[in-house]
């Protein structure tokens, strides 16, 4: 038996006996019998810790309704700790209390769900801020989470940090293929399920839900020469970084390959927007227009400013009162104008961002009507200082 020498190693885990492998096998090894254990102080000579089996943990979590149905990364202590290195808050600090379950969104709980979603640790500050944004009163998280409407939460990233994490704002930005787009939105969804309690059929009552509820996150393309990006429009500087959350239906495509001027192209967008069956039809509110860069260039060619586009969409996106009054809430007289209902309350309700690759396409998504307003917040350090890099958060 090798000598038992604790030496002065302070970093030895309590889970192992304290013997060193050299000690264990170094002395009198020839005298050991085949049935002897090397060390008597512990049941085993060596305990090796491995990551849990993904399939097994995914199944276990799935059966406990802790996932969105897709496999998850097992949230082990060491993996969660890597995320905690990307925040300047303590693990038990409370970011928000999330409705409807009144769940306490601590930094650690958010990190656990982010690990599960497949995020990388550097995404942690973004997810932390997204949770903070959805908890703000004007976002109406209790309604957004519980509604029978297929309301997803769209997250839009702006500023240098969005580029630092390589969020996709180009070709396929609303589809698969990019880890930030795929997992940041998913982390939010898992937080909503496990922290806010928005489990489908239990506290999330969407009649059918929506594919956009898995993940709906992208960046605005600020490199194309168009209008000021969303965060600048909301009062931030170009080199600030922000997250914007907005409660929306699934996006719908606007295919227009033939319009050569602003009005024609915007009429196609307006026609796609002006439908019954959305929440805006009876409780007017925000609309999201994700404009493809080529469409934006068509409009810019005519010298239209962003404010002109927003005004034109606001003034012309409308449906008949007859169709408008088929929604969940009785159509209020204040929204009726010449036997029509405008789908937005003002031009400010038209939220325009530029994203996507080559092609003559844009996307629109209806909002949650008067019941929810988008929230745009800057990425800030605990000190209140605006973050310039994701590395600013690293401890």
């Amino acid at each position: 038996m090798g000598k038992f020498d604790k030496k002065t190693q302070q970093n030895i885990s309590n889970d192992i006996c304290g013997c060193f492998i050299d000690d264990l096998i170094g002395e009198n090894i020839e005298n050991k019998t085949s049935n002897d254990r090397l060390c008597n102080s512990h049941e085993n000579d060596l305990e090796v810790y491995v990551d849990p089996d993904i399939e097994k943990i995914s199944h276990d979590f799935y059966m406990r309704k802790l996932t969105d149905g897709l496999p998850i990364i097992p949230p082990t202590r060491d993996k969660v700790d890597k995320f905690l290195q990307y925040t300047d808050h303590d693990p038990d600090e409370l970011i928000a209390v999330l409705q409807p379950k009144q769940g306490k969104a601590t930094i650690e709980k958010v990190a656990i769900n982010a690990v599960m979603a497949g995020c990388i640790p550097a995404f942690m500050p973004l997810i932390q801020h997204i949770i903070s944004a959805v908890s703000q009163e004007r976002f109406n998280l209790p309604g957004v989470n519980a509604t029978t409407h297929p309301t997803a939460i769209c997250t839009i990233l702006n500023g240098p940090i969005s580029r630092e994490i390589s969020i996709n704002s180009g070709a396929g930005c609303l589809g698969p293929g990019n880890i930030a787009n795929a997992t940041i939105g998913r982390a939010l969804r898992l937080c909503l399920m496990n922290i806010a309690g928005a489990v489908p059929g239990i506290m999330d009552h969407a009649t059918m839900g929506s594919p956009a509820k898995y993940s709906f996150c992208f960046g605005e393309d600020e490199n194309v020469n168009t209008w000021e990006p969303l965060h600048v429009e909301r009062g931030f500087n170009q080199d600030d970084s922000t997250v914007t959350v907005m409660a929306v239906d699934s996006p719908q495509n606007v295919n227009d390959h033939r319009s050569t001027n602003a009005e024609d192209l915007l009429d196609t967008i307006i026609d796609t927007l002006s439908v019954a069956g959305c929440n805006n039809s009876h409780v007017p509110g925000e609309l999201l227009v994700i404009m493809g860069p080529e469409h934006a260039q068509t409009i810019l060619k005519n010298g239209w400013e962003k404010t002109d586009v927003k005004k034109y969409i606001h003034e012309n996106t409308a449906i008949s009162v007859e169709l408008g009054d088929r929604g969940g809430r009785k159509l209020d007289d204040q929204w009726i104008d010449n036997d029509e209902v405008k789908l937005t309350r003002s031009p400010d309700d038209v939220i325009i961002v530029i994203a996507g690759g080559p092609g003559k396409h844009s996307m629109i998504a209806h909002g949650f009507g008067t019941s929810s307003d988008s929230v745009n917040i800057p990425l800030k350090l605990k000190t209140g200082k605006l973050a310039k890099s994701i590395q600013d958060f690293k401890s």
Binding site: K101, Q102, G103, K104
Partner: protein, 176 residues
């Protein structure tokens, strides 16, 4: 031959579920004498028929009418108006967001000392009760009406409302 016992252990996983904010609130007591009831209508389809039918079947009580949003919170003005009565009846929780704000607005009234009765359809009463409990008011009064209510004729809605009148009478402690 040396034998070495090596145990392979899986690392533990952490719990993604959050702790709940702990709250305990009690619903307001219904007074022995009810002079005025506010009917708090979220304008969901046929909520007005339910509330009107209740009004028509309880004699000797003054009813006031207040409207509120369905999937969003009532304004402070609307809450204060509904709070002017001895009790408020809220309708209708027959979807996720409207049930949410029937319950959360009812709790706001209860916190002001105004007892409430929240009418929710049976597909949403379990959620309504859980939401009330999560927000600290386990004993919030929820009156269950048969789902669906939207898309029905006036007569059918009245028929469903008639079935809940005995329970309502019992909650109010008065005869209709």
């Amino acid at each position: 031959m040396l034998k070495m016992n090596v145990k392979i252990l899986e690392r533990d996983v952490l719990n993604p579920l959050a702790e709940k904010e702990y709250l305990t609130l009690n619903s307001a007591i219904i007074p022995e004498t009810i002079t005025e009831i506010s009917l708090f209508d979220n304008t969901k389809p046929n909520a007005d028929i339910i509330l009107r039918y209740i009004e028509d079947n309880f004699n000797g009580i003054k009813f006031s009418h207040v409207k509120k949003p369905a999937g969003a919170p009532a304004t402070l003005k609307q809450i204060n108006k509904a709070a002017q009565a001895d009790l408020s009846i809220l309708a209708l929780g027959d979807c996720g967001s409207c049930t949410t704000w029937v319950i959360l607005d009812a709790i706001k009234l209860e916190k002001k000392g105004i007892p409430t009765i929240s009418i929710c359809s049976d597909k949403f009463t379990e959620f309504a009760a859980e939401l009330a409990s999560s927000n600290g008011m386990e004993n919030l009064r929820i009156l269950e009406v048969e789902h669906p209510i939207a898309g029905l004729s006036k007569e059918k809605v009245q028929e469903k409302t008639l079935k809940i009148l005995p329970k309502l009478e019992n909650m109010l402690g008065i005869e209709y």
